[in-house]
C-alpha cells in the first residue's frame, strides 16, 4: 500500500482549509483515581502518525486510560501533552481527540449521516461544508449507501464504520479506538482490520488502539504497549503499562513473566514465502517449511493459534496439514486446558484439553507429532 501524497489526503476530506496533521502525544507520570480502579503512573510517548496498540487482558483499565487521554477523567497527578502543549486541564471538547468505542456508541436518535455530521454541527460548520465532508468521509469508508439508515438497522461492521467516520470527519489530532473490533464476528473483524490499516496509511492520523487480542496488536501496531491490571488492596484494582516496544520486541524479549505469559508461548515466526511445484511454503529461519495459503510475497510474519495445533503420538498424514515431529519441553497448566510447548525447532505451543493430554499420555521430554492446517497459518 502506498502512502498518499498530502494534497490527496486533504482532498479526501473535501475541505481545502483543513489540515489533517497528525500529532504526537506525551503522557507524563499520569495517575487517575476512580472508585474501585486506579491508573498507576502512566508514561507513554506516541510519535506523530504512529499506530500504537495497548494490549492487555480484558478489564476496564485500558478504557480508563483512553478516556483519560480524551479528557473524560480528571487525572489526580501528571500531565498530558499534545505536540508539546499541556492539555491536562482542557475539557474533552477542546482537545480534538476522536474516540471510537467497542460497541460503536452511535446516537440512536440520529441516522448514519446525522451521526457522522454531529461533530461538524457541534463546531457550527456551514450546511454545505457538513454535506461535503460527510459525503467525502463516507466515500473513504465505503458507507455511502448506509447514510440514510438508523443505527439499530446497521450490522456490527457497518455501525463501526459509521462510528469511525463520525470520529474521523472532524479531523482529530489523535484517534482513540477502544476495542473497536472485539464485538465483531471473525470475518467482519478481519475486513475492518485491513480497513483500519488502510485508513491509517491514507490519513496518517496518530492512533491509539486498545485490544486484548495479540494477533490484532501484531497486525496493526507500529508499537505495542502491554497493560497490566491487578488487585491493589483498598483502592480496588489498579493498572499500568508494563512494557512498550515493537510487536517483535514484545514477543521476543518480554520484560516480565506477565508479558511472557500474555504474549509468549504463542506461535509468532518470521519467514520468507517460497513457491514451488504449485505449493506455497513459508521458510523459517530455522529451516522449517510451513505450508500456507497466501497471496503475500517475500518476508512475512506468521502466527499459528495454539488451539489450531493438534498433537498426536503418530504422524497425521494429510495433504492439507503441516506435520512436524518434536519434543515436549514445557507444559503450562491452564485449568481445563494445557499449553504444551514442543521444540521442533522452532518452538510451537499447542493448546490441548486435559483429556487429550491424558489420552496421549504425554510428559516432558516425550516425542510427539504436531499438525495444523495450511489455512490455520495467519500471515501478515
Amino acid at each position: 500500500m502506498v502512502k498518499l501524497p498530502i494534497t490527496y489526503r486533504l482532498s479526501l476530506i473535501a475541505d481545502r482549509g483543513s489540515s489533517f496533521v497528525p500529532c504526537q502525544l506525551q503522557i507524563r507520570d499520569l495517575w487517575v483515581e476512580l472508585e474501585g480502579f486506579r491508573l498507576r503512573h502512566i508514561n507513554l510517548d506516541v510519535a506523530a502518525g504512529e499506530y500504537l496498540v495497548i494490549l492487555g487482558p480484558t478489564g476496564t483499565g485500558k478504557t480508563v486510560l483512553l478516556e483519560a487521554i480524551a479528557g473524560l477523567h480528571r487525572p489526580s497527578q501528571g500531565r498530558i501533552l499534545i505536540n508539546g502543549a499541556d492539555v491536562t486541564g482542557l475539557p474533552p471538547e477542546q482537545r480534538g481527540i476522536g474516540f471510537v468505542y467497542q460497541d460503536y456508541a452511535l446516537f440512536p436518535h440520529l441516522n448514519a449521516a446525522e451521526n457522522i455530521a454531529f461533530g461538524l454541527r457541534m463546531r457550527g460548520a456551514a450546511r454545505r461544508t457538513v454535506e461535503e465532508r460527510v459525503a467525502a468521509i463516507a466515500r473513504l469508508l465505503g458507507i455511502e449507501h448506509l447514510l440514510r439508515r438508523m443505527p439499530e438497522t446497521l450490522s456490527g461492521g457497518e455501525a463501526q464504520r459509521v462510528a469511525l467516520a463520525r470520529a474521523l470527519v472532524v479531523e482529530p489530532r489523535l484517534l482513540l479506538l477502544d476495542e473497536p473490533l472485539s464485538a465483531l464476528d471473525l470475518e467482519t473483524r478481519q475486513g475492518l482490520q485491513r480497513e483500519l490499516k488502510r485508513i491509517h496509511w491514507q490519513l496518517g492520523t496518530t492512533a491509539i488502539h486498545v485490544t486484548h487480542d495479540f494477533e490484532e496488536a501484531v497486525a496493526l501496531g507500529d508499537r505495542v504497549a502491554v497493560f497490566k491490571e491487578e488487585p491493589a488492596g483498598e483502592a480496588g484494582r489498579e493498572g499500568g503499562i508494563v512494557q512498550v516496544g515493537t510487536p517483535e520486541e514484545i514477543f521476543r524479549r518480554p520484560a516480565s513473566e506477565f508479558v511472557a505469559r500474555f504474549v509468549g508461548g504463542r506461535n509468532l515466526f518470521r519467514g520468507r514465502v517460497v513457491r514451488q511445484a504449485g505449493e506455497t511454503f513459508v521458510r523459517l529461519a530455522e529451516g522449517l517449511g510451513i505450508a500456507a495459503v497466501t497471496g503475500l510475497e517475500g518476508e512475512v510474519s506468521l502466527l499459528i493459534r495454539p488451539e489450531d495445533i493438534v498433537l498426536s503420538s503418530t504422524p497425521l498424514l494429510s495433504s492439507a496439514r503441516n506435520c512436524f515431529r518434536g519434543r515436549v519441553v514445557e507444559v503450562a497448566d491452564g485449568g481445563a486446558v494445557l499449553y504444551v510447548t514442543v521444540e521442533v525447532p522452532p518452538r510451537f505451543t499447542a493448546l490441548i484439553t486435559r483429556r487429550s493430554w491424558e489420552d496421549l499420555a504425554l510428559e516432558q521430554g516425550r516425542e510427539v507429532y504436531l499438525a495444523f492446517k495450511a489455512s490455520a497459518v495467519h500471515l501478515f
Binding site: 479528557g71 474533552p92 476522536g98 456508541a105 457541534m122
Partner: protein, 263 residues
C-alpha cells in the same frame, strides 16, 4: 408466550385477578353509564362545572411547567452526578407520595399562608396563595412532582453515558451535549412523566382544599355538590371528570407505547 389458561393454577389466578379488575372497572363504568348523554351535555353546559374544569387543567399545567423547569435538571443530576446526600435527595423527592395530602396542604399553608414570611413577600408583588390560583398550583406541584422527576431520572439513566462522552470528544460542550444527546434521548420519558404529573395534578383534592376551597377545582366542586345536594347531583360531574381523565390516560399510554416501539 403461554396462554392465559395453560393450567389450573393459571385459571385460579385469572379468577382472582378478574375480581380486582372488576373492582376497578365496574364503579367507573357504572358512574359513566348512569347518566345519559342528555344529562352529560347539561353538565357540560353548566358554567360552574366548565370553569372548574378549565381552572383545574390550567393550574395543573402551570404546576407541571414549573416542575419541568426545575425538575428536569434535578433528574439529570440524580441520574448522572455523584454527590454526598444523593440518596437523601432521592428520598426527599419521593416524600410527597407518602405524606397524606391534607398534611401536605397544612405544611404548605405554614410556609405560604397570609401571615408567613414568604406569603407576605409574595404579597408585595400581589401574589396571594390562600384561596387563589397560586395556592392551587403549589398544592398540585407539591404532591405530583415526584411523577415527573422520577420518570425524567429514569429516562436519563437509560441514556448510555458513553453517548455523552462521544459527544464531548466530538466538540460538544456540556450544554450542547445535553440538548443534542441526553435530552432528546430522554424526551419520551420526560414527556410521559409530565403527562402523568399533569393528570395526577388534575385529581388533587386533599392539599388543594386546605389552601384554596375557592376558586373551585373539579374535585372540590364534586365534593361540594355531593355534600350540599347529594349523590344524584354529584354523579354527572363525576362521570364527566372520569371520561376526561380516561381520554388523557389513553393519550398517555399511546405516547408510552410509541416509546417502546422506538427502541
Amino acid at each position: 408466550m403461554k396462554t392465559l389458561f395453560a393450567n389450573r393454577m393459571h385459571i385460579s389466578f385469572a379468577i382472582l385477578a378478574l375480581l380486582l379488575l372488576l373492582f376497578i372497572a365496574w364503579p367507573l363504568l357504572r358512574t359513566v353509564t348512569a347518566s345519559g348523554p342528555a344529562l352529560l351535555w347539561q353538565t357540560i353546559l353548566d358554567e360552574e362545572v366548565r370553569r372548574a374544569i378549565g381552572l383545574t387543567f390550567y393550574a395543573s399545567f402551570i404546576a407541571t411547567a414549573i416542575a419541568f423547569l426545575c425538575g428536569v435538571p434535578l433528574a439529570y443530576l440524580l441520574a448522572r452526578a455523584d454527590f454526598p446526600g444523593r440518596r437523601l435527595v432521592e428520598g426527599l423527592v419521593d416524600l410527597p407520595i407518602v405524606v397524606p395530602h391534607s398534611a401536605a396542604g397544612i405544611a404548605l399553608l405554614m410556609v405560604f399562608g397570609r401571615q408567613t414570611f414568604l406569603g407576605q413577600a409574595f404579597g408585595l408583588f400581589g401574589v396571594r396563595f390562600v384561596s387563589a390560583l397560586p395556592g392551587i398550583v403549589i398544592a398540585m406541584l407539591f404532591v405530583s412532582l415526584p411523577f415527573l422527576v422520577n420518570a425524567a431520572r429514569e429516562g436519563f439513566e437509560a441514556v448510555d453515558p458513553r453517548l455523552e462522552r462521544v459527544s464531548r470528544t466530538l466538540g460538544g460542550s456540556p450544554w450542547r451535549t445535553f440538548w443534542g444527546v441526553s435530552f432528546p434521548l430522554a424526551w419520551r420519558s420526560i414527556l410521559s412523566g409530565a403527562i402523568l404529573m399533569w393528570a395526577r395534578g388534575l385529581s388533587e383534592f386533599g392539599a388543594v382544599i386546605i389552601l384554596a376551597y375557592h376558586p373551585m377545582v373539579t374535585p372540590v366542586l364534586l365534593y361540594e355538590r355531593f355534600e350540599s345536594f347529594g349523590l344524584r347531583y354529584a354523579q354527572p360531574v363525576a362521570a364527566l371528570v372520569i371520561l376526561i381523565c380516561l381520554a388523557v390516560f389513553i393519550i398517555l399510554r399511546l405516547i408510552g407505547g410509541r416509546k417502546e416501539r422506538a427502541r
